[in-house]
Symmetry: C2
Subunit: 657 residues, 2 copies
Amino acid sequence: VNPDLASERQTASFSVEKLTAWLDGGAERTGLRRAVVEAIERDPVFSRENQYFQSQNERYEAAVRKAVHLQKKMHEMGWTDNGPELKYIYRALAGDVAFLLHRVFMRSISMLGSDKQVAKWIPLATRYQLIGSYAQTELGHGTYLQGLETTAVFDVTTQEFILNTPKISAMKWWPGDMGRSATHTVVFAQLYIEGKCYGVHPFIVQIRSLQDHSLCPGITAGDIGPKMNFEHIDNGFLMLQNVRVPRENMLNKFCEVQPDGTYVRSGSQKINYFTMTSVRIALISDEVIAPLMKACTIAIRYSVVRRQSKLEPGEQEAKILDYQTQQEKLLPQLAAAYAFHFINDYLEELFNKGYGEIQRKNFDTLPELHAFSSGFKAMVTQYSTSAVEICLRACGGHGYSSLSGLPSLYTKILASCIYEGENTILLLQTARFLIKSFAAASTGQPVPPSVTYLAAMKPGKCPAKSKSDFLSPDIYTEAYQHMAARLISSTAAKLQDLVQSGVKKHHAWNQCAVQLAQAAKAHCHYITVKNFAETVEKLKTQAGIQKIMKHLCDLFALHGIFSNAGVFLHDGYLSGAQMDMVTTSYLDLLPVIRKDAVPLVDAFDFTDQNLNSALGSYDGQVYQRLYEWAQKSPTNKMSPAYERYLKPLLHNKLSHL
Amino acid sequence: VNPDLASERQTASFSVEKLTAWLDGGAERTGLRRAVVEAIERDPVFSRENQYFQSQNERYEAAVRKAVHLQKKMHEMGWTDNGPELKYIYRALAGDVAFLLHRVFMRSISMLGSDKQVAKWIPLATRYQLIGSYAQTELGHGTYLQGLETTAVFDVTTQEFILNTPKISAMKWWPGDMGRSATHTVVFAQLYIEGKCYGVHPFIVQIRSLQDHSLCPGITAGDIGPKMNFEHIDNGFLMLQNVRVPRENMLNKFCEVQPDGTYVRSGSQKINYFTMTSVRIALISDEVIAPLMKACTIAIRYSVVRRQSKLEPGEQEAKILDYQTQQEKLLPQLAAAYAFHFINDYLEELFNKGYGEIQRKNFDTLPELHAFSSGFKAMVTQYSTSAVEICLRACGGHGYSSLSGLPSLYTKILASCIYEGENTILLLQTARFLIKSFAAASTGQPVPPSVTYLAAMKPGKCPAKSKSDFLSPDIYTEAYQHMAARLISSTAAKLQDLVQSGVKKHHAWNQCAVQLAQAAKAHCHYITVKNFAETVEKLKTQAGIQKIMKHLCDLFALHGIFSNAGVFLHDGYLSGAQMDMVTTSYLDLLPVIRKDAVPLVDAFDFTDQNLNSALGSYDGQVYQRLYEWAQKSPTNKMSPAYERYLKPLLHNKLSHL
């Protein structure tokens, strides 16, 4: 181990192993996780060793191979599809596997299909006798589902639906596993019966032959080409020309077309939102927090190995993490990784509670859950994407090398800001809930617990008198609460003013949209700070861990105030003098946390194979690894460019110039 | 042309052609530029058609082919190496060409070499009888040049220098054109004579045979592998083992080792900074502003073609640029593109003046020029990188497709934050100049014109009384000036307090570094706003253009206040009520500029070939082009994955599970 990195571990103020176990939810789970990771990493099929050198085609082939092999592996290991190992498997594979949309295909049938449909399709899918996908988004239509243009016309004479892509913008575009792999897909289309449109419904459509994988009649499909990341996934396009599916292929748990063409709706469709809610919450942990933790691990380990310039003349060059600017780049991102880990626990708990209610047919929590899943998905993905970019840039030139692992972490996490609901639109959905809640709270009506604070909104000033007062969670949580409530109430007032002055409701909403999105973000930021403080508060038994978590919580909170000073100063809740105290407290925390920075990332417990980074390995052999890996690059094979272009040039065939 | 895009052009409030000419610096230059672009684009060798599908090896080969072909082309067209066409050629090639470091090789010899050395090497390089590179950065050493570890020991008996890479961290790493192409390079190494170190000096070293391109004895070299972008460049590594070069190969305009080993220094080395200054200013236009303008063009054109959701029930889905949130994402980036175009003019003028002075042996302007080039490089690259990312994300899923052109614009511009001096370090260099200037100004000493405002720093309040007052350039320029001066003076005070309380100077500097960097950025932001306002002011003759430029200037300035509200509110210079006025004025400007958004990007005058974007073409045929391009992707060739993995799976060979 590089001695500069080793020395960082000798002075840890807490037990890394205990922190890891706490983050995992107990030492037993840590054990299970490590066992799964080890089994996966020992298996050469799952190797990611040459990933940075592979083409999109090679990545796809490897992902399919892994997905097929995984079935065998799970059987061998006794891992089940619903077992506790599943999330650890995904973590160990770093998402680098095919057939994720096959799972969504199955989930949509389970949720939206009748018992008969479930009985028919789920066993086939479970045994991989077909490969499923999920075709919702179109070339010209994303988040606004009502705008989908694919049609499904019921033909009463043959008892079939006839599916069509009426124009190019209606082509299905982006569905994963569809470009090259899937044999079946769930197509969302506008249902027409006798010329009348009944809105968007899901249909199971076979797109490729089970015998030879050729495209079925009427189907045009393929891969949408290169993307910023996700080379391993065959995101696809799909055009339908008079494709007929039997009446039984419309998923009909909630809506059915009867043989005579009668349309019958039964049950609640609200539960559909709950699927999206669950997906948005599920992705935060795997697709956002894990990459953020990896980026922090890589950047912080590298920053104690890398030395540059001198902090004092005559001394050795300093570790770059000893510079305030480097600390100020990285440590707030580390604090955010912890903050988001805890808010994720909170969201999962909220979700599980809500799910229990729903099973008891109580749908009261749905609006709050929808608002939460939307807002936190937007806030956490946006924050984490910036954070990973900061980590990348903080590693200078070497961070820019693919071999650092940071470019792929960044280009992948960036997508999370877009998929499963574009962030701005999600924030506006949260804002709608907040504005409603504010109106209700203002008139004394009951509101969900997370927004009761809106009722108590009043002007005021922060009582802090010294910089150390700002290390009190009560002080800063209160400041966040005040700020969020103020942004929500002032935007509600603007909205009301506009409507009262005669602006149409939709236009008034649009004219407030920037501020509404800001208010929604502020609300989520407040809840995140509050939840972090409460998590630290509850952690009574492990003093060493509590102490460092308290520092991280303070840093996360004060960084947020420092970086968004305007919204705290605006109404005088904080004075300029108090903001100076915040700044001092914030900057003073950096060298304190810096001492434990390496143990704090070690506790995330990523293996070297999992990080797949020349800069971030546990042993800190940064330069050796960069050199070793670079030599394996295909760019070090002889290039035809020499014989074709360089040789004639150098041998002066152009000397007539 | 897509009718939604066409209609945007019919209502332009100014002449696009006149605006283009003004941006180019006259209609004649526009003509020359277009002629160059046409000549390049008509030549199939320069095609970038399949670029998004190519591997790193293919990109490299294409770039070498283009570079070699370009020599021929320039000869044919009568374009010279110093002619006005050069920048247009580079723009037309979108930087996608090899041998850029060959130019740096030549420049360093011209600047640092004696007349004899220039006479020997420059003609060889000009005729491409060798291919040069520039080997400064090492695996373990970047910005801090004094820390370089490569050694050059003078051997008086053979009159040679013996070059060595003493350890792995001393390996040269990153130099462009070095991995696979270069035959020669300028190596920076610590000079030793009789055991004494004389610091870093440049040496010309041959690394590959001119006959067969094999590596020379003692040389280990190759390509550093995949990066986030720049696939076309062979960034390389280089290790030297007892490589001997004759005494004449040390570039010796300023320092010479005489035959007996006597070291002689002559002339000023300050001029070396001037090279860096010139590079930093030169890169802003080509590597930063052009990509930003392209990203704006793509995102804005797409945002009037893309429709989503409804602004009013019952209406057609709205163009996404009609949403306030979309306007607030894109239009400030458009304003920034203009602001940076103008600040670049300003910097080039300042540079040319300074260059004139230097030729008259007056080095007085060097510190200011160094501070300016550093600070603006940092500020403009950082701002523009964020801006391109915003453009990418504002295009949703399709922005994430490589075919949009946005991912490669982003991954390329991101590098500009790192190369030619890491941004944080550059900002701290600017801060050093500002702190010095502030101290001088405070004690009545003369300071350069750009910082005289520091002498006038005093507390005060903004006199604006209504939202329309904030459309007065005097009002907002004054606010920026006050804010920058306050940040500089308060950080200077903190620095002084620390030193007076006994903290060592270097540590005190480090403890203020975050605030110093912030102050430097504020200074550059202020100068950019001021320069934009002055540019608009001067533009008396073209009323239509002046009007829209005034709107953009207002937007750029108010966006900056809105986004950095804290620093304006902190000391009460702006009140909360005034900040509300700023917000209102800012948001009110969005729909005004939105009307001219398409003509404003049309004026940048990028051809479709140059944009290379399925989303951004002039005709707005977004969906057709995405579909057409996707079909050409190599991912639509038959994959071996089917026969190997999918077929056995689907044919149920795993049914025993």
